[in-house]
Amino acid sequence: MPLQTPPLRGIHDERGAKFTEFGGWDMPVEFDSIREEHAAVREDAGIFDVSHMGEIHVTGPDATTLMNRLTTNDVSALEVGDSQYAAITDEEGVIIDDTVIYRLPDEDGEATYLFVPNAGTDEATHERWVEHRNEWGLEATVDNRTDEYAMFAVQGPDSGNLVTEAVEESIADVGRFEATDVTVEGVECWMGRTGYTGEDGYEFVLPWSEAETVWSAFDCQPCGLGARDTLRLEAGFVLAGQDFDYESDPRTPYEAGIGFTVKLDTEFVGRDALERVEAEGVEEKLVGFRLIDRGIPRHGYDITNTESRVIGTVTSGTMSPTLEAPIGLGYVPVEYAEPGTTFRVVVRGRSKKARVETTPFIDTK
């Protein structure tokens, strides 16, 4: 299948970006250097083209019920302009995907949501919503608008100033995890403030055809998926397909460290299973660690105890540009999960000492 391309594929190419396949999309991985892009976001601001993320629009009399039954968080707690991070789980409580849900202004007096599934999962997610809506006899319209919307993320301590300058309306009242309609160079956008990288940041959802106008309105470092990975890992954020993968590494939100998204007092697919997991406790947990010996942990490397018995797997790892130290995430038995615990990571056949650390690895915001 040919790769899908973001609306600014040509513009990024002209700017000298390198590209990589991600979730079926041909996305920029690096514009100048991951280190430079990473530093720009930590110190000033950077802009990411995240048009590979899905956008699904849900409205109608039963929109809230449908959203609540298919996501782990409590959607009914959202007022217009609020947003929320949630997991999408199966009957066993295993994470299928993670997502951000925005409550948009009501349409025809009905609650309306836009949620953002990960790259390449929008079609399956749309199908899931439609199937369950039909099965439960709910009245809601579910539209997959991934092909209609571009999405950009302006991130970093200076992002507030940049956005204030670029947006026609005042954004002073938009708090963390809040969202609103704004106008950029005459283009109407939906703007959220959820912090894709762990830094203060603003995400813009806008018509695909207006992508260039909005992208050009922000004069800051363009950033690719490479910097996304290093920034998010330093912030301790999980990456779908890497830190959990429905097919190859099924995990519950409690194992993946996103148990805070699970509201057991709501009714959703997987609730009963997760109630049991919550009561019994998990056997393995995702932990952050730092390599003490020289080397870099990478996805898929074994984690062993000091007797060389394999106890877990690295899910993400890199040389942290901010800390200038090798850091990673991986699943280990809970008895190895306490900060300060040491274990070993097998780097190309060599056993390297590592120590569990509290995440986020750095202070952000």
Binding site: E30, R35, G226, G295, I296, R348
Partner: protein, 127 residues
């Protein structure tokens, strides 16, 4: 984008360069390779005195995003390694044919160099 490919060196398809002086072969990775890798953050090299065989992996170079094996252009004994790279791996990006060199091999048979690509052949490969 054009990359520097000095003429007096020989090249491997796996993007190492080799420069011979009196039987000693200095080895590094090419300008193209460092650009492809991006920010180099770690280099693993053999010890001095280790014996290498042509085309065998002798070490690893890692950037933030990728891991890449390094292959020996000739057989022989490692007589020097660039220890500066342990503290400053970014030298590979900054100066791949100069301060970013990786090791020196006392070649057991310098004729092996003739099997490697010329600068022109290497440029064709990366074009």
């Amino acid at each position: 984008m054009s990359f520097e490919t000095p003429e007096e060196r020989r090249y491997l398809e796996s993007h190492e360069w080799a420069l011979e002086t009196d039987g000693t072969v200095r080895v590094g990775i090419t300008d193209f390779a460092q650009d492809e890798l991006g920010d180099v953050v770690f280099v693993e090299l053999p010890d001095e005195g280790d014996d290498l065989t042509q085309e065998d992996a002798f070490g690893v170079v890692e950037s933030i995003k990728a891991v890449s094996d390094l292959y020996a252009p000739v057989s022989g004994e490692v007589t020097a390694i660039n220890e500066d790279l342990f503290d400053a791996p970014e030298l590979v990006n900054d100066d791949p044919y100069g301060d970013g060199w990786m090791l020196e091999i006392e070649a057991s048979d310098t004729d092996e160099l003739d099997e490697l690509l010329t600068a022109e052949e290497y440029e064709d490969q990366i074009a």
